[in-house]
Every structure is written in structure tokens, then in C-alpha cells.
């Protein structure tokens, strides 16, 4: 049940598409980097612990 956006449909839809895409990219990049850095730190800490 898409609302009738009339002659401004392109304007409204592109605003939503660009904004949601930018937010999703920001969230995904933040989560991926958080995961990567956590794993890297765990490896380094384990290595240093095993080296004494």
C-alpha cells in the first residue's frame, strides 16, 4: 500500500533511498570494524600471554 506521492515521487523516494543506504553503510562498517579489531586484539593478547 504505497502512498500516492504524485509528481514528487522521485524526490521523496530518492531521499529515503540515499539516507537509508548511508545509515546502513555506517552501521555495517562500524559493526564489521568492531568485530575485526576485537578479534585482532584477542590474538595479540593470547600471543603475548603465551610468550609470558
Amino acid at each position: 500500500m504505497m502512498p500516492d506521492l504524485g509528481k514528487y515521487a522521485d524526490t521523496v523516494l530518492s531521499s529515503y533511498a540515499v539516507s537509508i543506504a548511508l545509515i546502513v553503510i555506517l552501521v555495517v562498517m562500524s559493526v564489521l570494524r568492531a568485530d575485526k579489531v576485537k578479534k585482532q586484539l584477542d590474538v595479540i593478547e593470547k600471543k603475548l600471554k603465551s610468550n609470558g
Partner: protein, 243 residues
């Protein structure tokens, strides 16, 4: 007051945010989905602006966040300058990309909205121009952190840049009132019932604003934890290299 500064301890910060972060993230997602669906599907067209009024649910919250994220960075930068707490400097670093994306959303949605309403994508209007400068400040701030190897030096210099940029963040907020000219209208939200937008648009807008604020909190907590871990990693690697 002592208990507040406990969170400047990286370990305590990570322990506390472990519990808080999932709740904030879920709540922000719920509010954003509800607010945007409400605004997009269940609000009427404006008698002057037609369906473009639906852009308000993205444009206003992102513009508010663009300015307020910089203000948060100002506070944490001042805490760094005065108290030398690493977590506060890292929180400012973590917030900058979020603020940059919010500013970009405000600029893009503003241009898309402006074209049919004003007949132009862009004008050198006080508010638009100050927002563009704020966006450039975000880019410069992020680049400065990346360019300097020593974390403390980077925190010092970016804090100074943040102080300077605060002028433009404030200018972005009050530019319309200062100059009272240009295409951009005054504040969308007002305590004056006469000036404020109609409730049918206002309530879903408030839900969207709450969603954006919580999204920012969730992201800044997540990213600050990452910066704390990255800093620890750099310190451990440096210690290992020195033998």
C-alpha cells in the same frame, strides 16, 4: 561525582556498555522503523509542499544530529584537554564519522527537497553554506586523526580543531536567525504552538528524532569500544616491538 569519572576507565567503559549497548541498539531500531513507516505511509501531504513534506522525517533529525554530534565532540574534547581521559578523546574520534554521515544526509535530502520547492538544488544561503563548512570540518577532523601517528598528539590537535569547528556548528543552528535572509526557513520545531508544525507531522517527527538520537548513542558506544581496543592493540604492538 567520582562515580561518573569511573567510566573514563576503559575496562569499566567496556563492561558497562556491554550491558547497555544491545538495549539502545534495539530501541533505536524500533523507533526508527516506527517513525519512518508512520511518517512515510500514514501522514498526509502538506497543502503547500505536497508529498515532499515526508522528507522532513529524515532531513530534520539528521540536521539536528549533525550539529549536536559536533557539540558532543566539543564536550569530550574539552574533557580530554582538561582531564586527559583517553576514553573521552576516543569517544570524540568515534563520533566524527557518524556526524559526517548525518551532515551528508542533511545536505543531500536538503538539496533533493530544495529543487522542487525553491527551484534549485543549492544556494549560498547562510544555513546551507554553514552546513557545508561543517561537513568539511568533519572531513578535516577525521583526516587529522588518521594523519597523526601518536594518539595523544592527535587527540590534542583534533581537540583544537573541534573548538574552532564549534563556531560553525553553532552558526549552522542559528544562521537563519543571525542573517534572517536566504532560502532556508526558520526552525522546524518551536515551543510556540502557533509557529510549530501541525501535530500530524510533529509526533512521528519526534519519534524519528528519538530514533536518530538512540542510533547515535548505540553507534558511538560501539565505535568508542572499537577505538579503545585499537588503541590497546597499538600499545601492545609497540611494547612488543621494543622487546
Amino acid at each position: 561525582m567520582n562515580s561518573f569519572w569511573e567510566y573514563a576507565n576503559p575496562k569499566k567503559f567496556i563492561q558497562t556498555t556491554d550491558k547497555v549497548l544491545p538495549w539502545v541498539a534495539v530501541l533505536s531500531l524500533v523507533l526508527l522503523v516506527v517513525g519512518l513507516i508512520w511518517g512515510f505511509f500514514f501522514t498526509p501531504d502538506d497543502y503547500k509542499q505536497g508529498s515532499t513534506v515526508k522528507i522532513i522525517y529524515l532531513h530534520v533529525p539528521s540536521a539536528l544530529m549533525a550539529i549536536n554530534v559536533w557539540m558532543m565532540m566539543l564536550v569530550t574534547s574539552l574533557v580530554w584537554i582538561v582531564r586527559r581521559h583517553h576514553v573521552s578523546a576516543l569517544a570524540a574520534r568515534a563520533a566524527a564519522p557518524i556526524g559526517m554521515v548525518m551532515t551528508l544526509i542533511a545536505l543531500v535530502t536538503g538539496a533533493l527537497w530544495g529543487q522542487p520547492m525553491w527551484g534549485t538544488w543549492w544556494a549560498w544561503d547562510p544555513r546551507l553554506t554553514s552546513f557545508l563548512i561543517l561537513f568539511l570540518f568533519y572531513l578535516g577532523y577525521i583526516a587529522l586523526w588518521e594523519a597523526i601517528e601518536n594518539d595523544d598528539t592527535a587527540a590534542d590537535l583534533t581537540s583544537i580543531l573541534c573548538l574552532v569547528g564549534s563556531v560553525f556548528a553553532l552558526l549552522s543552528r542559528y544562521a537563519v536567525n543571525f542573517w534572517n535572509q536566504g532560502l532556508h526557513q526558520g526552525a522546524t520545531l518551536s515551543l510556540d504552538k502557533e509557529e510549530n508544525i501541525a501535530d500530524v507531522f510533529y509526533i512521528p517527527l519526534l519519534v524519528c528524532i528519538a530514533g536518530f538520537v538512540l542510533l547515535f548513542i548505540a553507534l558511538v558506544l560501539l565505535r568508542t569500544r572499537t577505538e579503545i581496543r585499537a588503541r590497546r592493540m597499538r600499545a601492545l604492538l609497540a611494547r612488543e616491538r621494543m622487546g
